[in-house]
Symmetry: C2
């Protein structure tokens, strides 16, 4: 990739570790009768990954001068919602994937019925985490919750996945962007926006962050599509070319690899420019933006 020579290996691992430790301590029921369900939920939740959504939330708290611990329940909830979507997307009736983060997918490990319920359970428990443990003024917690469920719903993630599984024929560039904006972009964006809402921030103070959040979602998806073609299977934890195998329209299939790389660079530049206009200590958000462009998995 060309342009501003983003630094490699700049990911804020210290925040990822905070998230991992918090997630590992979560439990969802007082009754051991559903221990098997909790095991399936934790199997997928604790399979690793960069925790980009919660790390973005913590980095946004940092940018606003707040301790990261202040937003941890909300940050963790974003990862629970993301994990629920992966479990359901991997199901035989959907993408029928066998590997995720280098391990058998949830339905292969625990059966399809338990996998459906593990996804359903993670979604409910994500919201419960926010309601029961997220501190903040009630109207601000409600506003953050609203953004989270909206990003997860028909106008967001679920709608995007519907567009993905039902798409037939060619998609042009704008249609592709709309699909991914809903499927992936809205939840990435919510990872930043929910924290602003939790702090009671409203426009115009949030405008720079809002533009950043939208563009970061686009950047994330373009790089994801590139890595599906060029990435290392072992590093990715899933087989190569699975997009093509599923006949999925990607930035690479629509624009070709070279143009997709240019689009990633453009998107990275826009995200950084938006961030430069946002008030606050945005250094960690900058590092995450660079990481998302240069990541190899």
């Amino acid at each position: 990739m060309t342009l501003p020579a983003p630094r490699l290996e700049v990911y804020p691992v210290e925040l990822q570790v905070e998230v991992d430790e918090y997630l590992a301590r979560l439990s969802f029921a007082t009754d051991s009768a559903t221990a098997g369900l909790e095991e399936a939920m934790r199997y997928s939740l604790l399979a690793g990954g960069k925790r980009i959504r919660p790390v973005l939330a913590l980095a946004t708290a940092e940018a606003l001068g707040r301790p990261t611990a202040d937003v941890m329940p909300l940050a963790a909830a974003l990862e629970l919602v993301h994990t629920y979507s992966l479990i359901h997307d991997d199901l035989p009736a959907m993408d029928d994937d066998e590997l995720r983060r280098g391990r058998p997918t949830c339905h292969l490990a625990y059966g399809e019925d338990v996998a459906i319920l593990a996804g359903d359970g993670l979604f409910a428990e994500a919201l419960r985490l926010v309601v029961e443990r997220q501190e903040g003024q009630p109207e601000h917690v409600l506003a953050a919750l609203g953004r989270l469920v909206s990003a997860a719903g028909v106008e967001g993630m679920v709608g995007g996945q519907y567009l993905d599984v039902t798409a037939t024929g060619e998609l042009d560039g704008p249609a592709l962007r709309r699909l991914h904006e809903r499927k992936t972009g809205r939840l990435i964006g919510a990872s930043v926006e929910c924290v602003l809402l939790l702090r009671g921030m409203v426009e115009p103070a949030t405008l720079g962050y809002d533009r950043f959040a939208v563009e970061l979602g686009v950047l994330f998806q373009i790089v994801d599509d590139i890595l599906d073609v060029t990435g290392d299977e072992q590093a990715l934890g899933k087989p190569h070319g699975s997009d093509a195998r599923h006949g999925r329209r990607t930035y690479v299939s629509v624009f070709g690899l070279e143009r997709a790389r240019e689009l990633a660079d453009e998107s990275h530049r826009k995200a950084r420019a938006a961030l430069a206009e946002a008030d606050g200590r945005t250094q960690t958000l900058e590092r995450i933006t660079d990481y998302i462009l240069t990541r190899q998995r």
Copy 2:
């Protein structure tokens, strides 16, 4: 059934009509690209049914001397959550049911992938409805939301369904009650409790209602199990004996039909007694309790 001769045909149809009208007007996305997903969601949501959960919520508002319209978003959300659970429970990997409310199940009508997403979407949109449209003090709306997601999560509905799909061998009476308490009872209970929380009520003012809510959930399930054996297929909208076909443990399979009927009567009596201790104009809640005991479908 014996005892206090509960009145037949006492169901508050006027509240059911209010709910149906509100549900029919709901839409979930501004973008027509996901019209097919919305259609599948509405197909299941608008398939009829007694709307017991939202009607309970409206009747609880009435008991507290509030207009029913005040709690309609919350009431509707309960039905969306219930419908989502039916769609997922009917999936081939779960109960593999073909008929629901007299029509092909969602996955037969729209495909398994769309049905999974329709369920996921209904859950997200239920919560969005409460956050965006339910009036009330923010801390009270949050408390009601907390009860709703807790009733839907691992300690509630999802956990109960897990116990149901994974149960092997015999269940004794208490284990059966625990299963149904989570699978069905918690959401029925939440239909009453969420409205109390929304009004900012706390113990001891809620104790009578709380006991009522728990017992009503039990009553509902016992009668459901009886109807699966004795009910009219056409009225039920699903084939007879589907519990036995699935090897499901029910109040009838564990206790026999006669004892199950006695248990239903006991449960009805306890629910009515709890209600008698609750402050407020509880006449409509009494009618619903009688209806649940005497219903034929």
